[in-house]
Amino acid sequence: MTALRQTPSQTVGPYFTMRLSAEGENVLTSPETAGERIRIVGRVLDGSRQHIEDALIELWQADSNGRYHHPADDRADVPADPAFTGFGRCASDFKTGAYSFATVKPGPVPHPGGGMQAPHISLTIQARGMLNPTYTRIYFDDEAAANEADPVLLSVPASRRSTLIASRVGDADSSVPTYEFDIRYQGDDETVFFDV
């Protein structure tokens, strides 16, 4: 039962960096953080495959044990990493639309229908010209077996699943595994966006 109605969404506009992103907010790790370090890199692209120069990308993920840093995840049998919040923010690069995060590979988390989900990261993307947030998920191309059993991926038409899977890439600038995940609006290869 609902008594009140939701406050409508409006665009984040071109000036959100005044408040909503700061240097270093795309780095989730500290020396104490447990787990395998990874980098996520990619670009945000519009319907003409021009880069989106003013996107806000917010990342949310479980720690390396698969535990969320949140009171609703109260599983006593999965230890929480006190050196990891699971949240990051990045504003896309004005000239290239590129974004990046330094984080850890998340552990698997359960699905309410039973079984475990494949390791994944949630992204929420907003920008000038977007009147609502868009939600997507990053999966990893080196988790093929887990991906094939993931209930969320399986709910996506097979032809579109590849848009949710980040590819391990060589990155000479980085000593840690780097995964590439572009976020595309419109077109045949549009990224899958979820109604969460």
Binding site: T7, H69, A72, D73, P110, F194
Partner: protein, 233 residues
Amino acid sequence: MTAALTYSPRAHDDHPPFLYSDYRSTVKRAPTHDLIAIVQTLTETTGPGPGWSELSDDDADLTTNAGTGGEAIGQRSIITGRVLDENGRPLPDTLIEIWQANACGRYVHWRETAFPAPLDPNFLGVGQTRTNSDGEYRFVTIKPGPYPWGNHPNAWRPAHIHFSLMGPSIATRLVTQMYFPDDPLFALDPIFQSVPEHARARLIATYDHDVTIENWALGYRWDIVLRGSGVGT
């Protein structure tokens, strides 16, 4: 597994569409495939709200938070209200981050170059606070000015303040804009008009003389409603 906390669906009919062609920037940035419904999992029913708010300083007075020792120029205004969920439950300890133009309609942002309005050295236009145990928040600021933008010839945005709320999970994430009553630019602004007509009034603050402080500041009240939670079936 025990029944899990879930959130009520996003009320798409109460939010703008992704594509609203009068707002030209939506044309190339709106998804064209249907969204794919997800069964909410821990990924969706958790979020940074509770933890992230601990990282912020209390800084809810935008008339002084530039830290110059001087006061911002403009109509001093108090914006207060409650953050509730759809069930009418107050949401305590909820981080609210805001940003806005100054009294002349100018943002402190490097991309703002086309509008020759003065900057105010005593105004940054950013603030943050957390709701109290009753879900209440309160900002002191100056009323922002309307400003021109490039969407169409002689386009002006109504005066507004950008609000960002995490809420308790990523499903409750809300970025929106609060407007002031009786703005003549409402009818001309495609961003405001993108909201379905029945829901537009929810974005407009109400003048409240009980909030106004004699010889000091005008008062406005604006409540914010986020998606509600319950135990899913």
